[in-house]
Symmetry: C3
């Protein structure tokens, strides 16, 4: 007997720890976005921005928050709808299992230690003395340098580079093209040329970190570049030498973090933010997109703009800037009106005092 495709709403309610408002025997065969879902599919609305799309959707069922209202059709209600969505997607798309073992076309150094439960793909290179933990999946064309340690359950996508001596904790995910442990950018000018300062430190990536495609994380000059537990880094991010990023931070695409910055726990850096070197960014600080951060940021502060200022202040400046061209004209007009008034009253402009001299300091 063939097992029918998909899952009943009853089964899903159980898997998601959700409350079902509808027929538990109704069956859905896949998850789909609101716009394209049909009656045999389940969709979700966990953000009220999508209410209109949800109301127009033909989906056969919806995952929603406990307090959602107004949607017709069977509902799976959850008090933690984002976590329930993760469960829903995982039920329908369980991660492909790795096949333990070393592909015959992989190149593994004779003294590398590869756990028997690990999967090493074709044309992967595992260097001398590297240690690959249990249930690690190294995809094809990935390079694991000499002495690298890769902790239990890590997932290295195709064409990753881990340079010599890099250390990954457990369950770290590295996306294609990322380079961890390249040399930091350090030179000393000797009067005629930039001489390279040897970059002999390492990189520590702690547990549950995720690193995006084509992101680069440099090794320390001395000591360690450190990405702490649970931090997520998007694509094309640059992390300079000796940087430390605290736990559970979020670094969005194309951010650049200069050498020796210390970012705290739970920091959020939106896309394309740049950090000058040697800054200290406190726990929970938030940096808005494209911010140019040129000084330390206290814990919990929100910054925006170049140079980055408190977010509300930058927003007020941005609003005021729209009036600036008009203000140029209005200020000139005001000065003419002043002259006329002063003429009328027989006052000399010079009596206005030494304003220019005073203001030169600004």
């Amino acid at each position: 007997m063939v097992k029918p495709a998909g899952f009943t709403l009853g089964e899903l309610a159980k898997a998601l720890s959700a409350t079902l408002d509808g027929d538990p025997n109704r069956r859905v065969t896949s998850v789909a976005p609101l716009e394209t879902a049909g009656p045999e599919q389940i969709s979700f609305m966990i953000d009220t921005r999508y209410r209109a799309a949800a109301e127009a959707s033909r989906a056969g069922a919806f995952l929603v928050s406990n307090d959602a209202s107004g949607l017709r059709g069977p509902l799976l209600r959850s008090g933690a709808p984002a976590q329930a969505l993760i469960a829903l997607l995982t039920v329908f798309h369980p991660p492909a299992p790795a096949r333990p073992g070393v592909d015959p076309a992989a190149i593994v150094a004779s003294d590398a230690r590869v756990d028997p439960s690990a999967a090493i793909g074709a044309l992967a290179v595992i260097g001398a003395g590297a240690v690959i933990g249990a249930n690690v999946w190294v995809h094809p064309l990935t390079y694991v340098g000499p002495g690298v340690e890769v902790g239990e359950g890590c997932l290295l996508h195709p064409r990753v580079v881990l340079c010599e001596g890099v250390h990954l904790g457990r369950r770290v995910i590295v996306h294609p093209g990322a380079v961890i442990g390249g040399d930091g950018f350090g030179y000393a000018f000797d009067g005629s040329a930039h001489r390279k300062i040897p970059q002999v430190g390492g990189v520590i990536i702690e547990d549950d970190v995720e690193i995006g495609a084509n992101t680069t994380i440099d090794r320390a000059t001395l000591g360690r570049t450190v990405i702490r537990q649970g931090t997520k880094i998007d694509n094309l991010v640059q992390v300079g030498h000796n940087v430390e990023i605290g736990e559970h931070s979020i670094i969005v695409a194309q951010v650049g973090i200069s050498g020796s910055c210390r970012l705290g726990r739970g920091v959020v850096a939106a896309g394309q933010v740049g950090f000058a070197d040697h800054l200290t960014i406190g726990d929970g600080a938030v940096l808005g997109a494209q911010a140019g951060v040129s000084s330390d940021v206290p814990a919990g502060e929100r910054r925006l703009g170049t140079p980055a200022l408190p977010m509300g202040q930058t927003k007020r400046i941005m609003v005021a800037q729209k009036q600036l061209p008009d203000m140029v004209r209005r200020l000139r007009t005001a000065e003419r009106r002043l002259e006329r008034l002063e003429r009328r009253l027989g006052i000399e402009a010079s009596e206005a005092g030494p304003a220019e001299a005073v203001d030169e300091q600004a």
Copy 2:
């Protein structure tokens, strides 16, 4: 008998559909820039910015537009000089033909379907169930994941990554290091850690798209990330999950497009532009370099600055900003002059009214 090198101007006129103003038997052996071309070479001036360089050039012939004047020497005149330049470069530099067949050092899954006319380079990896169309050229060290479809005539340069399930149309060119189909950047914070939202959607790249070196295009969370026909993407660009870019758009280097943005047809995003998530950018919109786009842009509009405003407005602000330090001083001076006038007339400053309270709204 050895065929003489190069081409006669007569042959070139025919190949370029150009009108020859000079000796059809004169022979040129290669194309060269105006500055370095010698009498045996042909150069070109299709942009009048280069008139001075053209006049000084020692080139033996020039490709020019129909209305070009004042250049001595044989001229190939064209009504579509940019297209004629493409023809000229192609005549002298015909693309190297791929050798059909699978290199013995390639790794091709037993159930992958590779068209006999396709060329698969050394150390390329073709995953299970992948489909490689006619006349496709997969260069060495490129990874084509399980279930990927690569349409007729595609050109995958060395060390490209196409992740599982990515779909390429026909004649798509992907440059080295590009990663198509990495996971989108999506997490849900569960109170103590960021939990990964499975990224189970796909990527569709339509016909005649070109994708630059080390560019990253993420798969959708659900549904598809889509790059439509004829769009050209430069190097180091980030395209987030569920983004759609319309036909014939131009995305210059280091642009970042956040998740779920919809860009229309013929959009131009200059270098280093950033787009916030979920924006709609209308057909033909133009975004100036480094713009920070934080709200929707109607079709045909031009935007510049951070936040991106109409281009003329931003330019006026940029001009006015130069006066800003001076305006600080002048405004202070004006206020002093006002005080003096008010004193002279016996007016109290407070009579000026509740300006501060009113303006707090701004």
Copy 3:
């Protein structure tokens, strides 16, 4: 007899050409940062920013500049402390020697010329007609295209791509993931589609250049893209087609240089700077982080901001911008005060003249 670990301070003083202020027989076993160094380690303070850390350090010895004072413990004094630091790091961390020879898992074209002293790693690909010089080290998974020339002593890290015809001088270092010689971004719109302009030029990288991880340097349309001697380029930098960068320049991470720019000798571009196309940047110019350079920069000038202006001017604008929201309010107040004064004196506002018409030109 086992050789004791590390070096005596006497040995180090000699190797570093430093003056020893302390016991020449004292032995140190490694170099460490000030914060973590113990009594058996040597640390360094070559920047007085770190004086407090140095004073608190438990290091067994310090490398310092000749004029450093106040530090207890053995000191190695140097008149060129940065160069001495390079020597110190090199003494303790001599670069791993390459093993000459071609790895059996490398793929080398039959007509490529590989110097016997060169080391070609596993799964590296050396294309037809490529020339690999003496003492070159090509790491695993690196692609050297047809006709590429790699000069003596170059170091190509894993997974580099050198496209067809690229030419590297001597002692060039290329970090993982860099792509040199990808196509430039050039198209001509034919009324319905962007047609690709063949990119048939080359790339010349001169001696002692260093190129960062995942950086992209495009080939010229015609002619050459050139990076001159001694220039150092950080990670994730984009260098467009036909760009020339002069000797000993410093290009920090995520900079984007548009096509046909000419940068002089000793130019410094800080992180995330963008250059519009066809600009000329004079010798020794300095561009501050995130600058948007939209016009030529004379030699020796310093620029900051978008658009990039003289650094002092941009800093004054940045300071003045903080007052801008307040100025909006104050200008409005000043205008009200003017009206009141004018009313008092019986002056009509319109008498103030045609300010608006005049200022429209701005």
